[in-house]
């Protein structure tokens, strides 16, 4: 097979998690109004303060319009044609122990490569499994509780730890922040809640696996992670969805809070259904992720591998409030077929001697469009702030595109900012060079892409680094005929 034919096949590889679980669901009718919000809140037995917060967010959202500044072509979304709540009927009374979870749900996660029982036996990773709008199982809750760590579905945290929720919810991402954050605040259904007490190093990796299953529903989860003084946590999230011809909306909010000397490492492997080779279907992924380094010498590190979704719109950011705090962003975004990604980060330096690092890698194939958009802001108070940014784009074929929009705002003359950017093409030259040395085209593409992503992959926890490499391989290699 010639190199160009191979590359053509590479970009037309099909999605592997596209099945639908046939299970009885409780889905509320499509449409959005105050009654829908009250219904969601009622289904979750929420305290009054939360309902009021949702309603305020909803009123605010009504006055907003979707953002238009991103480099994305999007058909207008009809927010009245979406159902805002969908849960397996068997899950009516909330998450139970693993033994009580519907076998069909367990089977679903087995098929996705996240066997909940097996993971439960293999100590090391605790999983919260979110299916459409609700959490269906959380493993290792008791073991984590021994260490004082709270890891539970958001709706459970609202009931059992209302003070923590009330104190921190919306404190990093206000519902006034943007259109999708406001929508999420109004209708969010579930997600994960994590609290690490002072001085505790979380004894295992925490992870949440998000699955969208029902048609015509949106997923609006909310994750809140609080790392108290001198604590450490590593958290991973994974996402998949069935193949459907219609676009589906996913609008999540993630808030991280790191207090004095606390460290949060947040890793994402996002593999939502990307749409087919004609660009039909796929998830619209509008996500607001932000962390606040509130304490001195605290650290928040975002690592993301984005291979799915028809549209990706997300900018995991860090507000560096505490002196000597550190923010990091490591990203690989792959777009192929007609996928579009507009992703990047914001590093807001407020404290003295704050440091941030940005490493962003965009890979575009087919008609894919990858955009890096990043802001580095140094406030007048941020004495001796430092930032290093590096944005690299890799193009496969000649119909795709890569775009870079770095914004730098420096209000303190002691700041040191460095920005590097490059664009390259997996060219016939590189492939031929490898083949002349005896390496097959398939191995060569995989080697070149993994080489390109290396700086990011090495930031992932070990289990995920292997998964990410495999995912890239599945997404890119295809089978050579």
């Amino acid at each position: 097979m010639s190199d160009s034919a191979y590359l053509n096949e590479v970009v037309n590889k099909t999605y592997q998690h596209g099945f639908i679980t046939d299970i009885e669901m409780d889905v509320i009718p499509v449409g959005l109004n105050e009654d829908v919000i009250r219904l969601i809140s009622q289904k979750k037995n929420e305290p009054e303060f939360l309902l009021q917060w949702r309603l305020q967010a909803y009123q605010y959202w009504l006055q907003m319009t979707p953002p238009q500044w991103q480099h994305l072509k999007i058909e207008p979304i009809d927010f009245q044609s979406i159902s805002y709540y969908s849960a397996p009927k068997s899950n009516k009374d909330g998450p139970k122990s693993l033994d009580e979870v519907d076998p069909k749900l367990l089977e679903t996660y087995d098929k996705l490569g996240v066997p909940l029982h097996e993971r439960a036996r293999l100590a090391g990773v605790a999983v919260d499994a979110v299916f459409d709008s609700v959490s269906v199982a959380t493993t290792f809750k008791e073991k984590l509780a021994e260490a004082g760590v709270i890891f539970c579905p958001f709706s459970e945290a609202v009931k059992n730890h209302p003070d923590l929720v009330r104190q921190y919810l919306g404190s990093v991402v206000s519902y006034r922040d943007n259109f999708y954050a406001a929508l999420n605040a109004a209708v969010f259904s579930d997600g994960s809640f994590v609290y690490i007490p002072p001085g505790v190093r979380c004894p295992m990796e925490l992870s949440t696996y998000f699955r969208i299953n029902s048609a015509n529903t949106g997923q609006f989860e909310r994750t809140l992670i609080i790392a108290d003084a001198d604590s450490y946590v590593s958290y991973l999230e994974g996402c998949t969805a069935p193949m459907r011809d219609e676009n589906q909306l996913h609008a999540a909010v993630v808030e991280l809070i790191a207090l004095d000397r606390a460290q949060i490492k947040y890793s994402t492997v996002q593999n939502w259904y990307p749409g087919d080779e004609q660009g039909r279907g796929g998830i619209y992924n509008f996500v607001t992720k932000r962390g606040a380094c509130r304490g001195v010498a605290s650290k928040i590190s975002w690592t993301q591998v984005e291979t799915g979704s028809a549209i990706t719109w997300k900018y995991p950011s860090v507000i560096l409030q505490g002196d000597h705090s550190i923010g990091e962003f490591y990203s690989v975004a792959l777009t192929r077929n007609y996928q579009q990604a507009d992703t990047g980060t914001k590093m807001i330096h407020l404290g003295k001697n704050t440091r941030s690092t940005i490493i962003a890698k965009g890979i575009s194939a087919g008609h894919g469009q990858s955009t890096y958009r990043g802001l580095v802001r140094v406030a007048p108070s941020a004495e001796k702030a430092r930032n290093y940014s590096q944005c690299d784009s890799l193009l496969i074929g000649d119909l795709c595109g890569a775009h870079t929009y770095p914004y730098i705002e420096v209000k303190n003359s002691t700041a040191q900012i460095a920005h590097e950017a490059s664009t390259s093409r997996i060219g016939e030259d590189q492939l031929f060079y490898c083949r002349q040395r005896g390496i097959t085209t398939e191995d060569a593409v995989s080697m070149i892409v993994n080489g390109f992503c290396k700086e990011v992959f090495k930031e992932l926890p070990m289990e995920f680094a292997v998964e990410a490499q495999k995912l890239m391989a599945v997404s890119l290699e295809g089978s050579v005929g």
Partner: protein
Amino acid sequence: MLKINNLWATVKDAAILKGINLQINPGEVHAIMGPNGSGKSTLANVLSGRPEYIVSQGEVEFLNQPLLSLTPEERAAQGLFLAFQYPVEIPGVNNLYFLKTAYNSIRKQKGLQPLDAFDFMKLVKDKIALLDMDEKFLHRSVNEGFSGGEKKRNEILQMLILEPRLAILDETDSGLDIDALQIVAKGVNSLRSPERAILVVTHYERLLRYIEPDFVHVLVKGQILKSGDKNLALSLEETGYQELIAEPRAEKH
């Protein structure tokens, strides 16, 4: 070892090679010289199977097997090696990892077990010493940020490790200072043996002072106009190509 019979080739619809005939036997060193644009590099690329180069006519036999129907990686496994004129950079791919992948890919195609990291490292250490290279080279990305001379040395390192039957050096001398040239030549000469052959493609006679050829061919406008021994290279250096080009076709091979 290599038999080229009436080879015609085009690049982007332009005819570059127009009837090349050449035979290379084991143990021989051949040099192809010629002015810019004469088709020297095209010949090197056609032999190694670069996709953009289309053979319109003729046959090539390598080790008594037809060569042109093989993929580039199959040719490499047969023992054909091209030292590139412009080696490409592969960011993030460790040089040692690349070498080992290449080495073991070729072993796999031959049905051999891969060499483990320990044995492979031993093999590499011997070779880099010969080329006066720092071990740090192995841990850098393939050719990334290498100087022109370092890139060429890296090509020769790959050649010494892959131990080809036929090594084609495409303008390996370009961009080298005299010290680097001598080191590269030392590496190439260490590979000379009765089972191997070397084809040196060059614009200048300079390299041939260090890698002494058994035969010299002059390629002009896609045809070999003249062949001779190493003295032909020396006389070319004095007279230049102009005289030859002006002459009517002297002889046909």
